[in-house]
């Protein structure tokens, strides 16, 4: 049974189609594995009964001949997606006791495709963090351990840390993530899996607890490029309930994996080689360039001159939107309420008790940059710089088809590290944030191991709504990398 959890989504689908095993068997295998891996703290809420019900229904549908693309595939859902009848926390105390009466569009589409949902995955509180340490439900452990220091638990990255850890530890075949500044790609890199943040507008944001509306985007996290493509096929599509979701057709992403990238031009941005870049990361990047060359693509040196401005821009735009998006958590209608002597006192006490330190920090920054007298200097300026960053990419894409960069400057670090200075933590996303600001698709795939045996990821960035090219190149790199290492205990 244990072997079933090691299958890819594509393979499991094929074998269930042949009748080799049932969705119920596959789901039971995952539920058993979840029990054995509780120590990772990947799930906030496990829903084994619901999963088995869904699996039974999937098996019945299969018998009747009606099979969705993800029929019977056990997935985990990041606990930022509202799920009908299942507690949704955003890893925050302020949503204590909140059970939505509605299903987010993206998780609803996965269910419609026949998926089985194992539970709700841990994350940084309100998706604010790069380590999963800000969760009110405790840190998540990365299933990987450093060979140099196997006794120390490492972070899975964040904010989709529970998603990445669960997929890497084989306690979900795939998971939903959300990415605002790197929240899918950085944890995918830290945990040795594949994750893609699609173009902004590709997936509906309806029913996803908002962090920064102009940046938030849902995406799949899985163990292969093909699995991500299969999941994204189900997740993507225009949604009239989200005004920012794009009315563009969804191609068959899996069909884009032709294995042929001959003649493609791959941009290598000079600005992604900062002083602090680890030699190991630089090395794996060079290796990635070499693989692409071998497959017939042409590396092209490009410049993205405003890269250095991306981090400060992001830390104005994202907190500004967050400060407003999180105003609704006021203790009046749902979630936590701490009584007070007046309305304002109730607000103060509820929000002080309900929000963790990182969330409070970002609300304060966001409130500050939008304040009268500071708006032009911060928010308005940041919007202009954001435009320049997007223009950098647009110019680059006049000559190249895809851009290759490292996903994160370092491999996974120890739980508890990088907590003294928030800026050190924020630097984790230095390579992923520019893509987010430009709204472009970005995929991270495992490309090798550090000297200590930790996964290192590379990022592929594509043109708007050209996830197909990203997938195509990723497929070639995946084969070249032949990443077969497994984390502890898998």
């Amino acid at each position: 049974m244990r072997e079933l959890t090691k299958l890819t989504i594509a393979e499991a689908g094929r074998r269930m189609a042949k009748g080799e095993f049932t969705a119920v068997e596959l789901t039971r295998a995952h539920i058993a594995a979840m029990g054995a891996k509780k120590g990772l703290n990947a799930y906030i809420t496990e829903t084994p009964e619901l999963a088995l019900e869904q699996a039974k229904a999937a098996d019945l549908r299969r018998q009747a001949g009606a099979v969705g693309a993800l029929s019977g595939i056990p997935l985990g859902i990041k606990d930022l997606f509202c799920t009908k009848g299942v507690q949704t926390t955003a890893a925050s105390r302020i949503l204590e006791g909140f059970t939505p009466h509605y299903e987010s569009t993206v998780s609803g589409k996965l269910l419609a495709a026949g998926a089985v949902t194992l539970g709700k995955l841990n994350l940084d509180e309100f998706a604010m963090g790069s380590s999963n340490m800000t969760s009110a439900y405790g840190a998540v452990e990365n299933p990987w351990r450093s060979q140099a220091d196997p006794g120390t638990a490492l972070v899975p990255g964040g904010s989709s840390g529970g998603s990445a850890a669960a997929v890497a530890a084989r306690i979900a075949m795939g998971a939903t993530g959300t990415d605002t500044g790197g929240s899918i790609r950085q944890p995918a890199a830290f945990c040795g899996i594949v994750g893609i943040k699609p173009t902004y507008g590709r997936c509906s944001r309806w029913g996803i607890v908002a962090f920064a509306s102009s940046l938030d985007q849902a995406g799949p996290m899985a163990r292969t490029v093909e699995d991500c493509a299969l999941m994204l096929n189900a997740m993507a599509g225009h949604d009239p309930k989200d005004s920012t979701s794009a009315p563009v057709a969804v191609p068959d992403f899996a069909a884009a994996l032709t294995g042929d990238i001959r003649g493609l031009k791959v941009g290598i941005p000079a600005e992604y080689r900062p002083d602090g870049l680890s030699a190991e990361v630089a090395k794996v990047w060079q290796q990635g360039i070499a693989w692409l060359k071998d497959a017939g693509a042409t590396p092209v040196e490009i410049s993205l001159p405003h890269t250095k401005d991306a981090l400060p821009t992001y830390y104005i735009v994202a907190p500004a939107e967050a400060s407003s998006n999180l105003a609704r958590y006021d203790g009046v209608r749902f979630g936590l309420r701490v009584p007070g002597t007046s309305l304002d006192d109730m607000y103060r006490k509820t929000r002080a008790a309900g929000f963790g330190k990182e969330v409070r920090r970002r609300i304060l920054i966001g409130t500050y940059v939008l304040s009268a007298g500071y708006y032009d200097a911060y928010y308005a300026k940041a919007q202009k710089v954001r435009r320049l960053i997007a223009d950098d990419f647009a110019t680059a894409f006049e000559t190249v088809d895809v851009i290759l960069t490292p996903t994160a400057p370092t491999p996974a670090f120890a739980i508890g590290a990088n907590t003294d200075d928030p800026v050190t933590m924020w630097l984790n996303d230095v390579f992923t944030i520019p893509t987010s600001l430009a709204g472009l698709p970005g995929l991270s795939l495992p490309a090798g191991l550090s000297a200590d045996g930790l996964p290192l990821g590379l990022q592929l960035i594509g043109r708007p709504f050209d996830e197909e090219t990203v997938f195509r190149v990723a497929g070639v790199m995946e084969r070249a990398a032949g990443f077969a290492a497994l984390p502890e205990g898998v």
């Binding site: 997606f81 509202c82 949704t88 955003a90 949503l95 909140f98 939505p100 009466h101 509605y102 987010s104 944001r205 309806w206 029913g207 996803i208 607890v209 908002a210 920064a212 509306s213 102009s214 009239p240 309930k241 989200d242 005004s243 920012t244 500004a320 939107e321 400060s323 407003s324 999180l326 105003a327 609704r328 006021d330 009046v332 209608r333 749902f334 309305l343 304002d344 607000y347 409130t367 939008l370 304040s371 009268a372 708006y375 928010y379």
Partner: protein, 485 residues
């Protein structure tokens, strides 16, 4: 004739700008599908979007956009092809999202103009600064429980048009005329029902004063949420006098928001500028800029009804009415169309007099509306016809009108039933005259000796004899002849 307030140091001019919140007539809310009916049970018309639940997103209601465009066209205003929704952030228990979606830097409608009609028949143009779309908040109820406040979110998310005038108004009377005219236009357009009692039209007044002839704009105070035209006028007058008193005693006016206490007829401070909210406006990232299709704007332009100003002009031209009468008749679309039904093919002046006189009096007394009038326009027209063809005298017509109100019957039916037909048969009238003259030989002699005044007495007697049915013109003629002869 300018309105000035006399202070101790001299006269003062009042400068007024009005911000009107007009609830858009639409079945659904501005950003959700929830219903908007007035008077539903509390929290019966609330979607998860209106209640600010996690993950909920706004989607613009196209009908509300079209209503705003229609209103903009009715105010001869600039229609901005691109406008932007912004979040106005503040915390309050009846504001579920913690922000109101409004428009800030780029409103849907720009500069326009509204012509106010003064009582002396003159008009004056008042500038419209802008019109923008925004969501209403819910309602807090503080009197339902000893220690708790209750919240009703039915209104939360309902579409409002905030219509901002330029500081062009100079008297409470002008402010009243502005609101009356704006309400009239909104009702003509069908974009707001203008009901101030139900709160579907609310007004904030910005008031300052200055010496006459000055062009400076002094510090203004904003009086919030006044719910009748009369109260707006009272609040302005009180506030202007307060400013004058402060200035004349050497003080300064601080910019602040004030509330009108209609019971006491005074305004009092609500919050000062130092305590004003910092709303932290920024473009709502959940919504794309609102881009209007020029074809849609043109289509709406073609559906615009004849508006009060055009109608008034036409009434003055086609029916030879004076400005005041025309103004009164066009104030409501339904009274204008009622008048036109009565006047069609008839003496317009007589029709105007009848509608604005006896009919409006009866309408007020009956407590009915012009859409369900005590006397139909068709029957009023028939009444005019009966007067014109001499069937009824003016006096009889009044009696018949009263009967029409009482019975709801048509005038020709009443004339027939009650034998109220005016007598023009000279024989019958002559007989009556002869009888009266025969009974009063002394008075006949007096008339014949030159006391013409007594003729009126004879007319009255003859009318009495004929139960008022005699044609007064015929009576006069015959009487004069007989007296001579």
């Amino acid at each position: 004739m300018a309105y000035l307030i006399a202070g101790e140091t001299g006269d003062w001019e009042v400068v007024i700008g009005l911000e009107v919140h007009a609830q858009v007539i639409s079945k659904a809310k501005l950003f959700s599908g929830a219903a908007t009916d007035f008077g539903a049970e509390p929290n019966d018309q609330v979607s998860f979007v209106d209640a600010g639940f996690p993950g909920m997103l706004p989607v613009i209601n196209r009908v509300c956009v079209e209503q705003a465009v229609k209103t903009g066209l009715g105010l001869q205003a600039a229609i901005n092809p691109t406008s932007v929704f912004a979040r106005k952030n503040y915390f309050y228990a009846d504001l579920p999202q913690g922000y109101q979606i409004s428009q800030y830097e780029l409103p849907i409608i720009g500069n326009g103009v509204l012509l106010i009609d003064m009582n002396d028949g003159t008009t004056r143009p008042i500038g419209i600064e802008r019109l923008h779309l925004e969501q209403d908040a819910g309602k807090s109820m503080h009197d339902q429980h000893p220690t708790k406040s209750f919240i009703d979110l039915n209104r939360s998310g309902v579409a409002l048009m905030e219509i901002v005038s330029k500081p062009d108004l100079r008297s409470p009377e002008e402010a009243g005329a502005y609101l009356t005219k704006l309400r009239s236009i909104l009702r003509y357009l069908g974009t707001c029902d203008g009901n101030m009692q139900e709160g579907s039209m609310r007004c904030d007044a910005n008031v300052s004063v200055r010496p006459p002839g000055s062009t400076e704009l002094r510090t203004r105070c904003e009086i919030k949420n006044v719910n009748s035209i009369r109260f707006v006028q009272q609040a302005i007058e009180y506030e202007a006098r307060r400013h004058i008193e402060v200035y004349e005693s050497g003080g300064t006016i601080a910019q602040e928001t004030r509330l009108f206490d209609s019971g006491k007829g005074i305004t009092r401070s609500m919050r000062s500028k130092e305590h004003a909210h910092d709303y932290r406006y920024f473009p709502d990232p959940d919504l794309l800029p609102l881009v209007l299709d020029p074809a849609m704007v043109e289509r709406i332009r073609l559906t615009l009804p004849e508006l009060p100003d055009e109608k008034k002009e036409r009434f003055m031209r086609d029916y030879a009415l004076n400005a005041y009468d025309a103004g009164v008749l066009v104030a409501e679309q339904s009274s204008a169309s009622f008048f036109e039904t009565v006047a069609k093919g008839r003496d317009a002046k007589a029709a105007a007099n009848l509608v604005m006189g006896d009919f409006f009096a009866a309408l007020n007394a009956s407590g009915k509306t012009i859409d369900d009038p005590p006397v139909s326009a068709a029957n009023l027209g028939k009444l005019l016809d009966l007067t014109a063809d001499g069937t009824l005298s003016g006096r009889l017509a009044k009696d018949v009108f009263a009967l029409m109100v009482e019975t709801g019957k048509a005038p020709d039916v009443l004339v027939e039933e009650r034998g109220l037909k005016q007598v023009t048969d000279t024989g019958a009238i002559e007989a009556a005259i002869d009888a009266v003259m025969a009974a009063n030989p002394d008075k006949v002699a007096e008339v014949r000796s030159g006391k013409d005044k007594l003729l009126g007495w004879f007319v009255g007697q003859v009318m009495k004899q004929t139960q008022g049915k005699a044609n007064p013109g015929v009576v006069n003629d015959l009487l004069a002849k007989k007296m001579q002869g």
